[in-house]
């Protein structure tokens, strides 16, 4: 989707303002937000791609003014409601009102270290060879789906070069919407800034994205 998250090349968003000796958390609730988000992810009820889509689907003024932990919390509420674990009435009252769905797994303290250490690899074998080779010139596709995609708007319909074939991975555009993992080959594609940004681009700059095979076409 062309949502508020697709920020590459946008102007007017203010200074970066890095904070000296920044702490990991700026408030206690941020710690809880991290832990709750990871705990609920362990239910196995939704994919990382679905949760990314829930975040980018927040109203743009909220997405663009919220801290990332707030984005997480708001999107998590959406996911928990969508999948039947909680209701809005429960959030409003701050207490359980009904039983709700049972998850496959509840993350207990003794499991936490193991789950974090394991992570969630998303490389998957595919039974066809890569369509593109290192060094090949390709064009990214032009499309503007309302659904989830990982091809940023600035990198659509642009000509670049395949720099690496990175393996085959779950395809987020499908997986975010419950259409299966449908793995594809993934390529690092590098663009000259002039191709991406046109007149006035930094001549010393190249930008790469990691692009699934179906994002690319032969030139």
């Amino acid at each position: 989707m062309n949502g508020p998250h697709d920020l590459g090349g946008q102007h007017g968003l203010g200074p970066i303002a890095p904070e000296k000796d920044e702490p990991y958390f700026h408030a206690e609730w941020e710690k809880r937000a991290l832990g709750i988000t990871l705990s609920c992810g362990a239910f196995g009820a939704w994919t990382l791609d679905e949760s990314r889509h829930a975040r980018e689907s927040l109203p743009p003024p909220i997405y663009l003014s919220a801290s990332y932990y707030e984005i997480w919390v708001r999107a998590l509420e959406t996911l928990l409601k969508r999948h039947g674990f909680i209701t809005q009435a429960e959030l409003d009252t701050g207490h359980m009102l009904e039983k709700g769905r049972e998850p496959k797994r509840v993350l207990k303290a003794e499991m936490a270290a193991g789950v974090l250490a394991k992570g969630g690899p998303c490389d998957r074998p595919v039974d066809r060879p890569p369509r593109f080779a290192v060094g090949q010139t390709v064009r990214t596709k032009n499309f503007n789906p309302e659904t989830h995609t990982r091809l940023p708007r600035y990198a659509r319909a642009k000509v670049g070069v395949v720099e690496a074939v990175q393996g085959s991975f779950v395809f987020p555009d499908d997986n975010a919407h419950g259409k299966g993992e449908n793995p594809q080959w993934l390529y690092t594609v590098v663009f000259d800034a002039g191709e991406v940004w046109g007149e006035g681009a930094d001549p010393t700059l190249t930008v790469s994205i990691d692009a699934w095979e179906s994002y690319l076409e032969r030139v």
């Binding site: 920020l7 203010g14 990991y24 709750i36 663009l64 930094d202 692009a211």
Partner: protein, 211 residues
């Protein structure tokens, strides 16, 4: 209402908002706990992991070893996930690692324009600015302007390569080894490796700066 920038998520003008979020998260945690869906102690364990165990010191060990050991550097270049795992660093947001090496010609910079992808396993939790709109919007179009905000001025001829983390690969920048560090131990070298130098918004510390 202030025209102050709104994308950072911290600072005094957010105090009221932080209070709202405190209540919102408290309600969420209470509901989930009453339902038995979360274990508050698991949350404590997760927080403790990222406050004390998984942070940029992990990445600094990787870089220091790559500086010290050409075979490890070569392995890191070819298969970063395995090379990094050999040092005991793996897991969430580090499942598929790539290491990119700064050279005299080229400076690397990592961003996630679409969300907040970051190599947790080697750098820990990302700083606020990494996840906020200003950095995400500008890194791919105006990296020199971005670096200037971090106090880093590259020569006009230096090539800049920006890596936009659009997939599940997580990038670790291996900064150039500072001059005059021959014979430094890995421990001493690791002290020179800042978090920002592994994102690309900084360089490794000089041997003088580190003292």
């Amino acid at each position: 209402m202030s025209e102050h920038h709104h994308g950072d998520g911290h600072g005094h003008h957010h105090d009221n908002h932080f209070t709202d979020m405190e209540a919102r998260v408290k309600a969420l945690e209470t509901v989930l706990t009453e339902k038995g869906l979360i274990d508050p102690e698991a949350i404590d364990a997760i927080v403790e992991t990222y406050e004390t165990k998984v942070g940029p010191r992990n990445g600094a060990r990787v870089v220091a070893k790559a500086w010290s050991d050409p075979e490890f550097a070569d392995w890191l270049k070819r298969d970063a996930t395995a090379a990094i795992a050999s040092l005991g660093f793996a897991g969430r947001q580090g499942e598929h690692m790539r290491a990119v090496f700064n050279t005299p010609d080229t400076h690397n910079l990592v961003v996630c324009t679409l969300c907040s992808c970051y190599p947790w396993a080697v750098l820990g939790l990302p700083p606020v600015w990494y996840k906020a709109p200003p950095y995400r919007s500008r890194a791919v179009i105006d990296p020199r302007g971005v670096l200037a905000e971090f106090g880093l001025e590259l020569s006009a001829e230096k090539k800049i390569r920006v890596w936009d983390s659009t997939a599940e690969l997580r990038y670790l920048v291996v900064p150039e080894r500072p001059e005059g560090t021959e014979g430094f131990s890995e421990d001493a070298l690791a002290e020179l490796v800042t978090r920002d130098s592994m994102i690309g918004t900084g360089l490794a510390l000089s041997r003088e700066a580190a003292r």
